[in-house]
């Protein structure tokens, strides 16, 4: 099992990224402004931040914030052109929770969405395993783990001076053939094992029965109470590695029009507003209930896994301090009581 463990020295990282960039668009986490780590295409001299969870997940690499689906030409004969994604990508430095987000996308979009599936097939993912989970992390609560390798092509584990690298897929093995990866020594491998053993992240709430309890709470005032401070800003959805809701709109162009797909959010009033004026989710209580229901009841019953990866960004970055862990705990107590 320990065969094939490689070592990537910190100083060899830049050369590796340079070589990868010759063949693909390489997305790396960089400190865009102090304290804010965002994903950017790698450029010479870019300082890559692999030592902490990104402020945003790399979701937009496979599911852009806005993309052109169709180009419509109306000048002469009406013509519609499909605008399919082009070229391979590398996501360098994802976290296991980010990668699990793509698993949810695979379940929902799968092969049915040609734009997503083209990108998915052409994307290589190198994941930094988490040795120091943050206080907002709760991946083990929802079936993941800080050392989870599933879904990645290569895992990277920080030890002194660099990372232990291990291929998970054939595509990953190919990446490890780069000269930057050298055989890891027995001491390095042992150090890696020790680091892994030291990682501790206990589940914060027992979710058994939550999907059913959610449905029991559906019409109660529970949701009005727990969402009193929510401001429906949607930050939780945009930073969520599994939120995939989108809108489709047309924009005029000189040649005719473009049909765009853009991120949308179930936290917004207009998301479900019908032209007649009717809105099935008119207040934030119904909207937040839908978000929790989707991730912890509907998605599990449709696909067998939670629609949440426990990355904790919705807790860390909520401007009014909503905490999904607390709400799940309260929901459990409420339904039990």
């Amino acid at each position: 099992m320990k065969d094939g463990v490689k070592f990537l020295e910190e100083g060899a990282l830049e050369g590796l990224l340079r070589r990868l960039s010759e063949r693909a668009r390489v997305w790396v986490p960089v400190e865009a402004t102090p304290g804010v780590v965002l994903w950017r295409p790698w450029r010479e001299g870019e300082k890559v931040r692999l030592d902490r969870q990104g402020t945003e997940p790399p979701k937009h690499v496979l599911f852009p914030r806005s993309e052109t689906l169709l180009r419509i030409y109306e000048k002469e004969e009406l013509k519609i052109e499909e605008v399919m994604p082009q070229g391979p990508s590398v996501i360098f430095g994802a976290r296991p929770c980010d990668v699990r987000g793509f698993e949810v996308f695979d379940q929902v979009f799968g092969e049915e969405d040609p734009y997503y599936s083209v990108r998915r097939r052409e994307t290589t993912i190198l994941t930094v395993l988490c040795t120091e989970p943050e206080r907002t992390c709760f991946c083990t609560t929802v079936g993941g783990g800080p050392l989870e390798e599933k879904g990645s092509d290569v895992t990277l584990l920080w030890i002194e001076g660099g990372w232990l690298a291990q291929a998970v897929t054939e595509r990953g093995e190919e990446v490890l053939r780069d000269e930057a990866f050298v055989e890891a020594s027995r001491e390095q491998i042992e150090k890696g094992e020790q680091r892994k053993e030291a990682v501790k992240l206990d589940p914060v709430v027992d979710l058994s029965g939550i999907p059913e309890k959610f449905l029991e709470s559906f019409t109660s005032d529970f949701w009005r109470r727990v969402t009193a401070k929510c401001i429906s800003c949607g930050a939780c959805t945009f930073l969520c590695p599994t939120c995939y809701c989108f809108n489709i709109t047309d924009e005029r162009t000189p040649e005719g029009a473009e049909r765009l797909r853009s991120w949308d959010a179930c936290m917004f009033y207009h998301y479900t507003l019908e032209a007649s004026g009717h809105n099935p989710r008119p207040t934030k209580a119904e909207r937040y209930r839908n978000r929790i229901g989707h991730k912890f009841s509907y998605h599990p019953s449709n696909y067998g896994t939670y629609g949440c990866t426990g990355c904790g960004r919705c807790i860390k970055y909520c401007p009014v301090g909503m905490d999904v862990r607390e709400i799940l705990r309260e929901l459990k107590e409420y339904a039990e009581g």
């Binding site: 169709l70 049915e112 040609p114 047309d250 949308d264 479900t272 019908e274 007649s276 099935p280 989707h294």
Partner: protein, 276 residues
């Protein structure tokens, strides 16, 4: 490779019919003959109709699959896209994306008496199934249509209503909300007229579509008359975008109206969280 589900067929508007002051019916034909031939649908399925540069909106295909010379959509002018659709003229190009969703369970209705209960624009999906049943008349028992609108001029498909009135094999009951000069049909809200008619639930299926408030009271009235939940079929509307269960917005619990619906029995709806 299968067809991109976001790619519409290009179609041409052949005819525009003014149904009511705010409802128009469009008859469209898909331009490409092989695409037109491949476009197969079932009664009750919907499609996304697009005006390029403005956007898409979802409508039931209200011509039945037994009549293939055009696809018919009836559109109430309420929003941005529907306003543009109302400006379309014969010869204009539109996009048609579909067919989407499920359909009326007409196989299970064979041999039964059929009670259609429609209100306003809600007559559109009922029209599809009614015409389909008329084209397969011997498969079904007695057919009753109770159709209401605010006023006589708000009734859709007036020519067809006239024709159906003359037919022996349909019982037609029309109603409007209040008295109007020259109106010879019933006066009263659809659920109230339904109670007056008091149809027996035996051997019947009730299929209803209309504004949410009408549906609510119609379901109550049907329950009072003794209809079981699996004898009642309705077709729902929700704001939709993708039409294939991906974009998220039309869910009721874990089901998507665009993909798992729009047709549900009341028994199926009662298994879902109450979020209509």
């Amino acid at each position: 490779m299968s067809r991109n589900p976001f790619l519409p067929y290009i179609a041409t508007v052949k005819e525009v019919i003014e149904e009511t002051p705010n409802i128009k019916t469009l008859r469209v034909v898909i331009d490409d003959p092989s695409e037109r031939e491949a476009f197969r649908f079932e009664p009750g399925q919907v499609a996304q109709l697009s005006v390029f540069g403005v956007g898409e909106a979802t409508f039931v295909i209200n011509s039945p699959p037994t009549r293939t010379e055009y696809l018919q959509f009836s559109v109430m002018k309420v929003g941005e896209v529907t306003t543009k659709i109302h400006e379309l003229r014969p010869g204009d190009k539109v996009g048609v994306r579909g067919p989407l969703g499920n359909w009326f369970p007409y196989e299970g209705m064979k041999g039964k008496d059929i009670l259609f209960i429609g209100g306003g624009i809600g007559m559109a999906p009922l029209r599809t199934l009614l015409l389909f049943m008329l084209d397969n008349r011997s498969d079904y028992g007695h057919i009753t249509l109770l159709y209401g609108a605010r006023s006589p001029r708000d009734l859709c498909y007036k020519e067809e209503l006239k024709e159906w009135e003359g037919r022996e094999d349909i019982e037609l009951v029309l109603t409007v909300d209040r008295e109007f000069p020259g109106w010879e049909g019933r006066v009263g809200l659809v659920p109230n007229v339904l109670k007056e008619l008091a149809p027996s639930p035996e051997g019947k299926v009730a299929i209803t579509c209309g504004p949410p408030i009408m549906i609510r009271f119609t379901l109550q009235a049907l329950a009072e008359l003794g209809f079981a939940d699996d004898q009642i079929v309705t077709t729902l509307e929700r704001r939709m975008k993708c039409g294939i269960g991906l974009c998220g917005r039309c869910n009721i619990g874990g089901r998507y109206v665009c993909k798992d619906g729009p047709v549900f029995t009341l028994a199926q709806l009662k298994e879902l969280p109450p979020e209509l």
